[in-house]
C-alpha cells in the first residue's frame, strides 16, 4: 500500500518544485497566520488531507473500491493555486517601491522556472498538442476514413491502429471497433489483442491478418502502409479499396453492408 501512496504522490508532484513552495507556504502560514478562518482552510484542512492521503488504511480502502491509479485525486483537495496566489500576493504587498518590483520578478521567475508551461508537448500519444485540423479537433485522416466507411442507418465494424482509434468513436458512434483505448489502458502501449498487434507492428501474413479480421467480424481493416501484410489480402477476403494519408483501407468481401430491414 505504501508503494501505491508514494507512486501516486510522486506522480502528482511531478518536478516537485511548486509543491515544495506550497509546503513552505503551508509552514509559513502555520507559524504566522493568526486568523482562525484562514488557519482552518489553508493549514489544518490541507494537513488533514495530507494525513488522510499518507494513511495506508485510506489507500487500502481506496484501492479496494476503485481504480488505484486515481488515488492522487485526494490531493486535489489541497488548495495549491489559491494558497500560493494568496502567499505571493502577501509577500508582494510587504514591499514598497523598487523592492516590490524585484520581489514580483523573483516570484514570476519562481513560478515560470519551477512550474512547466501548459503547452509543452512531450510526444506522448495521449498528451499531445497539434494544430487543430478541423472544428472537431479530430485528425482529418480519421474524419476522411470514417466518412468513407459509414453506411447511414447501421453500424460498421472496423479495426484501426492506436493513433487513430483514440478518435474514431469521438467522431462517430456508427463505427464500432473490436478493441479500443481500453486495450491501451490494459497493456500500456503494447497490445493484448493479436489483431491490434499485427496492425500496429506488422509482421503478419495476409492470411493471419484477414483471418483475425474475419474472426472479429470486421467490415474494414485500416493498416499503416509500412505494416502491409505479406501476401495477397484479396485472396483472403479483404480488398484494398483506398489509401488515405498512408493508411491502407481493406474492405471485407464476406460481411454484409446493407441495412438489416432490406
Amino acid at each position: 500500500m505504501w508503494e501505491l501512496v508514494i507512486n501516486n504522490f510522486r506522480e502528482y508532484i511531478g518536478r516537485g518544485f511548486i509543491i515544495a513552495v506550497y509546503l513552505c507556504a503551508l509552514v509559513y502560514l502555520f507559524v504566522t497566520e493568526k486568523r482562525k478562518e484562514r488557519r482552518i482552510l489553508f493549514v489544518y484542512m490541507p494537513l488533514t488531507v495530507l494525513i488522510i492521503f499518507f494513511n495506508p488504511l485510506t489507500a487500502r480502502f481506496f484501492a479496494g473500491s476503485t481504480d488505484e491509479n486515481i488515488y492522487f485525486r485526494i490531493l486535489w483537495l489541497l488548495p495549491v493555486t489559491v494558497t500560493l496566489a494568496d502567499f505571493f500576493t502577501e509577500i508582494f504587498l510587504r514591499f514598497k517601491g523598487r523592492a516590490r518590483i524585484t520581489v514580483l520578478t523573483a516570484e514570476v521567475l519562481l513560478i515560470v522556472l519551477g512550474g512547466r508551461l501548459m503547452y509543452t508537448d512531450d510526444g506522448r500519444l495521449d498528451n499531445h498538442y497539434e494544430l487543430a485540423q478541423n472544428e472537431y479537433h479530430v485528425p482529418q485522416t480519421v474524419v476522411d476514413i470514417c466518412d468513407g466507411m459509414i453506411v447511414p442507418g447501421r453500424e460498421i465494424v472496423a479495426a484501426f491502429p492506436k493513433e487513430l482509434f483514440l478518435y474514431v468513436r469521438q467522431y462517430t458512434p456508427y463505427v464500432v471497433m473490436p478493441y479500443g483505448w481500453d486495450d491501451v489502458k490494459k497493456a500500456g502501449y503494447g497490445a493484448t489483442v493479436p489483431l491490434r498487434g499485427y496492425i500496429e507492428n506488422g509482421g503478419a501474413t495476409a492470411q493471419e491478418l484477414a483471418g483475425l479480421g474475419h474472426e472479429a467480424q470486421c467490415h474494414y481493416l485500416v493498416v499503416p502502409e509500412e505494416n502491409r501484410p505479406e501476401g495477397d489480402m484479396a485472396e483472403c477476403g479483404f480488398t484494398e479499396v483506398s489509401n488515405i494519408d498512408g493508411y491502407i483501407i481493406y474492405k471485407s468481401e464476406l460481411q454484409y453492408f446493407g441495412l438489416w430491414d432490406e
Binding site: 506522480e11 502528482y12 508532484i13 511531478g14 516537485g16 518544485f17 511548486i18 486568523r35 482562525k36 478562518e37 482552518i40 482552510l41 489544518y44 488531507v49 492522487f72 485525486r73 486535489w76 483537495l77 488548495p79 495549491v80 493555486t81 489559491v82 500560493l84 496566489a85 494568496d86 500576493t89 508582494f92 504587498l93 516590490r100 514580483l104 516570484e107 514570476v108 513560478i111 519551477g114 512550474g115 508551461l117 501548459m118 503547452y119 498528451n127 494544430l131 487543430a132 472544428e135 472537431y136 479537433h137 479530430v138 453500424e155 483514440l166 478518435y167 468513436r169 469521438q170 462517430t172 458512434p173 464500432v176 471497433m177 473490436p178 478493441y179 479500443g180 483505448w181 481500453d182 489502458k185
Partner: protein, 363 residues
C-alpha cells in the same frame, strides 16, 4: 459549427444559468451578482440534471425522455426565477433603492496606489486568459480518456440510449453503474443536441472555450472573498492565479492541467471548478462564525448544490466533495466553540452520502 449554434451555446451555457441564478440575488453590486447568479444557476441546473439522470438511467429510460423532463425543468426554473427577479426589482424601485441592491465597487478603486503595476498585471492576466481561450480553439489536445467520455457524449446524442455500450468500442454491455451515476457526458450530449452543435465540437471546443473565462471569473470572486480588506489587490492575486495555471503542468495530474486540457471531462470540472467553489463557500461560513454573524442560508444551499454537481462530474466526487465540509465542521467546532453551522454543513453532504450508498449497493 454554425453561428446559430455558437449563439445557442452562449444562451445555454451562460445566459440561462444567469437567469436561473438571478432569483438567489447573491453578491454585492451588479458585476458580482451576475457571477454569483451564474454559479447558483448552473449548479441548480446541474443538480436537477443529476437527480433526473440517475433515476432515468436506472429505470432504463431513453435519452429523449430525459431531455424532455430536463427541458421542462429548465423552462420552469427560468420562468420562476425571472418572475422573482422582476418582482424584487419592482419592489426595490418602488422603495427608491437600486435594482441590484448595493452599488458596484468601481474598477478604478482596484488601481489606487501603485496603479501602474496593477494595471500592467491586470492587462497581463487578461492577455493570458485570452491566449488560453484562443489556444483552446487553435490547438487540439489528445487525451486517452476522451475515447471514453467524449465517445459517450457522441454515442448518447446519436443513439437516444444511455450507457448501453462501452464507449471505447461500441460493443453492447450491461448498464455501467459507476459511470452512469456521474452522467456529465450525458449533460454535454443534451447541450450539444439542444444547441445543434456536433457533440465532439461541443466537448473539445465550445464547452471549454465558454467555461474557461467563467472559471477565471469565479476564481476572481474567490480572490475577493479571501483578500477581504485587501480587495483592491485583486489584480495582483489574479495575475498570480493565471500564471500558476499557465505554468501548472508540473505533472499530468494537477487541477490546472485538467482545467486547460480536459475541461470536457467531468473530473476536470470537479477539480478546477466544483472543489475550489466548495472551499470558497466554507471560507464564507468561517467568516460568518468569526464575525459572530448568522451565516447566509444561501451559502448552505450552494454547498448542497456543489456537492450534487460534484457527483454529476465524477463518481469520486461523492468522496472528494464531502471531505472539506466535514473537516470544516470539525475544525470550526474546535476553534470557535460554536455548533450552529455543523448540521447545515453535514446536511450539504447528503447528495454525496446518497451517491456513495447507491454506488455501494447498486454496483
Amino acid at each position: 459549427m454554425t453561428f446559430g449554434s455558437v449563439l445557442l451555446s452562449i444562451l445555454w451555457l451562460i445566459l440561462i444559468p444567469v437567469a436561473v441564478g438571478s432569483a438567489f440575488d447573491f453578491g454585492r453590486g451588479k458585476r458580482e451578482k451576475i457571477c454569483w447568479s451564474w454559479l447558483f444557476g448552473q449548479l441548480l441546473l446541474w443538480s436537477a440534471f443529476q437527480a433526473i439522470a440517475v433515476f432515468e438511467v436506472k429505470k432504463g429510460n431513453s435519452f429523449p425522455e430525459l431531455k424532455k423532463i430536463y427541458l421542462m425543468i429548465v423552462m420552469i426554473s427560468v420562468a420562476v426565477s425571472l418572475l422573482i427577479t422582476l418582482i424584487r426589482a419592482l419592489i426595490r424601485k418602488k422603495k427608491g433603492e437600486s435594482v441590484f441592491g448595493e452599488k458596484d465597487v468601481s474598477i478604478a478603486s482596484y488601481f489606487e496606489g501603485e496603479s501602474k503595476v496593477k494595471k500592467v498585471l491586470s492587462i497581463l492576466s487578461i492577455v493570458i486568459i485570452l491566449t488560453e481561450m484562443v489556444l483552446l480553439v487553435v490547438l487540439s489536445y489528445a487525451d486517452g480518456d476522451d475515447s471514453y467520455y467524449v465517445a459517450e457524449t457522441t454515442m448518447t446524442a446519436a443513439s437516444d440510449k444511455m450507457y448501453f455500450a462501452l464507449p471505447y468500442t461500441g460493443r453492447e454491455i450491461p448498464l455501467d453503474i459507476r459511470h452512469s451515476f456521474a452522467p456529465f457526458p450525458t449533460w454535454l450530449a443534451f447541450i450539444s443536441v439542444i444547441t445543434g452543435t456536433v457533440p465532439v465540437s461541443m466537448a473539445h471546443v465550445m464547452f471549454p472555450v465558454i467555461s474557461l473565462p467563467v472559471t477565471y471569473l469565479l476564481y476572481a470572486l474567490m480572490g475577493k472573498e479571501i483578500l477581504e480588506e485587501k480587495r483592491s489587490e485583486l489584480p495582483v492575486y489574479m495575475f498570480f492565479t493565471t500564471l500558476l495555471v499557465l505554468f501548472g503542468f508540473y505533472s499530468y495530474m494537477t487541477p490546472e492541467k485538467f482545467l486547460l486540457t480536459r475541461l470536457r471531462q467531468g473530473k476536470a470540472t470537479l477539480a478546477s471548478l466544483v472543489i475550489p467553489m466548495i472551499m470558497m463557500c466554507l471560507y464564507m461560513v468561517l467568516k460568518s462564525l468569526r464575525d459572530d454573524k448568522k451565516t447566509d442560508f444561501r451559502i448552505y444551499i450552494l454547498l448542497f448544490m456543489l456537492n450534487t454537481a460534484g457527483c454529476l462530474c465524477s463518481s469520486l466526487g461523492a468522496v472528494l466533495c464531502a471531505v472539506p465540509p466535514v473537516l470544516c465542521a470539525l475544525f470550526s467546532c474546535i476553534m470557535y466553540r460554536k455548533f450552529r453551522h455543523v448540521l447545515p454543513l453535514l446536511a450539504s453532504c447528503v447528495p454525496c452520502v446518497l451517491m456513495a450508498a447507491f454506488l455501494r449497493f447498486a454496483v
